[in-house]
């Protein structure tokens, strides 16, 4: 389980796009570096991300080693009713982590 920070406005308006900001604590080891002994440090990144709102897809991303450490993502969501924003991301070991946030549509 990695640390995640999700920034979502407290209240959003129906049909009005709102910004979601996501920060994930992860080194995103590119696989390009060598350690002090000259050994290759194996690749270890979060390679995919899916965001849904009340089950409907917002954004799906395939991430590669060129995504910076402690990945940051910012994108807009549009909602008609209050609900749950779900973010699911998978790393190179196949570990899936899911984070949810309640969104109130006023």
């Amino acid at each position: 389980m990695v640390r995640v920070l999700i920034g979502v406005p407290k209240q959003v308006k129906r049909d009005e796009p709102f910004e979601v900001k996501l920060l994930i604590s992860h080194p995103m080891e590119s696989g390009q570096r060598r350690d002090a002994m000259g050994q290759a440090i194996p690749r270890d990144i979060i390679n995919s991300f899916v965001c849904t709102y009340n089950g409907e897809e917002v954004l799906r991303a395939e991430l590669f080693p060129a995504i910076a450490a402690n990945p940051f993502l910012s994108f807009a969501v549009v909602a008609q009713e209050s609900g749950t924003l779900e973010m699911r991301f998978t790393d190179d070991h196949g570990v899936v982590q899911t984070e949810t946030v309640r969104v109130t549509v006023g």
Binding site: K21, L23, S25
Partner: protein, 263 residues
Amino acid sequence: MSQSGDYGIDGRCQAALFALLMLLASACLAQEKRSGYQDASPETRAMQDDDAANPGFLWVQQGEALWSQRATGTLGSCADCHGSAPITMRGVAARYPMFDQKLGRPITLAQRIQQCRVERQGDTPLRPEGDALLGLTAYVGLQSRGMPMAVAIEGPARAFFESGKALFATRQGQLNLSCSQCHDGLAGQRLAGSVIPQGQPNGYPEYRLEWQGMGSLDRRIRNCLVGVRAEPLAPDAPELANLELYLGWRANGLAVETPAVRP
């Protein structure tokens, strides 16, 4: 301001005094105190300005969780004694490093946190430069954000301050450079593609793009020493705390920016 026809002995004395004051002022302030924030690119500054986009807040979040955590077998969490950090820790980080009466020397905020853990919480010390200690230090540091640095150097701290100040001006390492040569004398000019900052400590612990992570002032100073190919100071070396005491005083008046973002 005197009128043009009014210059006499008084006017000349005034002018001489004014010139003398300007000379004195320029000798003390080689340049105005400037946070590293101002030497960073607009993009890096934007990263710091938005709490939702500042990676340092991943560590602050961890620190906030640790603040209320009480490990089994220990005497209590930070919160058990200190209550709500935004209230009780307000302005605290701005005064560190601080002279510790019992130890008889200055200690950094991270050292104080470790001291609390061992002596008052009955817990084990956290790993230096580890995420947990950085997180707690950043969380406490955040409670001083926006407030001016206010490090005290009078009384028993004075001797340690002078020692740190002397170290700052001492040439060392294979490159035979002192901190002062770059960070006083050449601040604002460029080294390779980067602007040389004044080396102010007002944003620590900070997220450094070069580290791809969070780090302490200890780490930054050790990197500088390796950079001039000098012997790096051990993590708990008293010289490190003395130097940080001097750096803190040197930054007095600058706003705390923890958690800062730097290139």
